[in-house]
Symmetry: C2
Subunit: 299 residues, 2 copies
């Protein structure tokens, strides 16, 4: 069997299932970030590694600054999902020998600019030549207070489901220029009890099923409420991916307080209740889908 037949989720399941995790591991493979115990009892160490590959995450000829920005912001978006504070980053660059030094300088400028926005220090780097396309792997380390950690698990039947911002149309430009919702996420966990959260990188249609599966619940989405980017279709909002917005679940009893305080705190960023979590029924579970048509049926 080939990798292409398997899909990323099943591949990661397969590969990481049999890891013998230490007691210190709070959240292991499969969630947005790894979370482990550290010596300070109030805080947990948070780790995330991600990559961007030419021809997959950006096209040849893309502005180097944009590539660097994206390479740093992708793992930082997972920190937002975990409500963690990023602190240090390591960057590994794989690039062919004929790459222009000027392009690489632009790449690092983008990496630094993105890191600086969240006060992340790029503390190490490694470079390697490659006979293939340019690839940049970024690892970020930081922390989260024990009582503010959020993961995909923990959503409860009856919870409201919210998304930040607007969905769809990111491939035109936003996927290179997005700002991870770290500030918003930190505000949320400071002021509310967030039951489950993740960032939307593969599209709501692929990501929401991951959250409900991890939380062991079903879901109902009110399709007409999905906050579409101007010019984007419902299908784009569900399937296109690279929105890097937050999807989270919290008690419906907090709904009004959240909406009021959010509007005051983040007047320029929409917050939309798109549906709710429900009891898991076998039927729901079988209908957890990728893509648009099935997704709509299951709601």
């Amino acid at each position: 069997m080939k990798l292409g037949d398997l899909g990323e989720d099943r591949l990661l399941d397969l590969l990481l299932r049999c890891l013998s995790l230490k007691n210190a591991v709070v959240v292991g493979p499969g969630d947005d970030c790894a979370v482990v115990e550290m010596h300070d009892r109030r805080k947990l160490l948070v780790l995330k590694s991600d990559c961007v590959v030419e021809g997959v995450h950006f096209l040849q000829g893309t502005n180097a600054l944009d590539v660097g920005w994206k390479a740093m912001m992708r793992p930082l978006s997972d920190f937002a999902a975990t409500s963690a504070v990023p602190q240090f980053a390591l960057v590994t660059l794989m690039a062919p020998e004929q790459t222009e030094v000027a392009w690489v300088k632009g790449l690092y400028r983008g990496l630094r600019r993105a890191a600086k926005l969240f006060e992340v220090g790029i503390v190490g780097g490694e470079t390697s030549s490659t006979p293939g396309p340019i690839a940049v792997s970024t690892s970020v380390v930081g922390f989260v207070e024990r009582d503010r950690r959020v993961s995909r698990r923990g959503g409860k039947a009856g919870d409201d489901l919210f998304v930040t911002g607007r969905l769809g149309g990111a491939l035109k430009r936003k996927h290179l220029r997005f700002i991870p919702r770290i500030v918003e996420s930190r505000w949320l966990t400071k002021n509310f009890s967030i039951h489950a959260m993740m960032d939307l990188s593969d599209g709501l249609g692929a990501d929401l099923p991951r959250l409900v599966r991890a939380s062991n619940v079903g879901f109902k989405i009110e399709m007409e409420k999905l906050p579409l980017t101007r010019g984007a279709t419902m299908n784009d909002a569900i399937s296109e991916g690279e929105d890097y917005e937050l999807l989270f679940a919290m008690s419906r009893s907090d709904r009004i307080r959240l909406q009021q305080r959010w509007t005051k705190k983040f007047p320029n960023l929409p917050l939309t209740r798109i549906g709710s979590l429900s009891q898991l029924s076998t039927k729901d579970y079988q209908l957890l889908p990728r893509g648009y048509v099935h997704f709509q049926q299951s709601s």
Copy 2:
């Protein structure tokens, strides 16, 4: 200018020089590992990221188990250089869709086997398709006690220079099967004051100049003392690379005690005094070379 004209050291200098490092950073880019402050005052957080790329670090068709082993052990060798204890690893796999799942399973088996040897937990993973060769990026996080941290800096004129094991001939097989000298390094810093240390990944001829430059000293090597792998030439020992042995500097007053205790503790691993550090003279500095001939002249 192209990357190929620049060389890795100058590239990293260029890219990382202008990073604004936080106060918390003890050792930033350019040394074997990054070292940063953590909340526990007695310990420092240690971070390292590295990669292996098909066609560069391993040939197409290499046993997957060996590739996984190498991908994990390379950054762990940098932990040995820092005398740090590795704890957690993140693995990012970039592989074409036509890669056999069986190969990838073998890769992870190799990664896990290597991690297990040093009780490292693989806590996260990310996979991406690529139109290019297989590449594996591994990031490792751990700690070192504040008073046992070693870096390339700190070598003093008059220090003895030691290497562990034997040099040269690694490309035949050892580069895929090596065991990072973490146990040895931890023993060294527990029992001795090690002034400067690094792991030999690019060959003594490239790596020693990095250590003396960082320590701002010169060096004298007794070429006839270099511990050659059976079948390897002097040139192999200096230029071939991938030995993953330790090179370290310590006070000559500790020499006899070190040699006696080492032989008892590690009877199967040679420890060789290959020369000493000297005052830096302008002449030495200009002669710091890559490659064999110049290297010999400078000794």
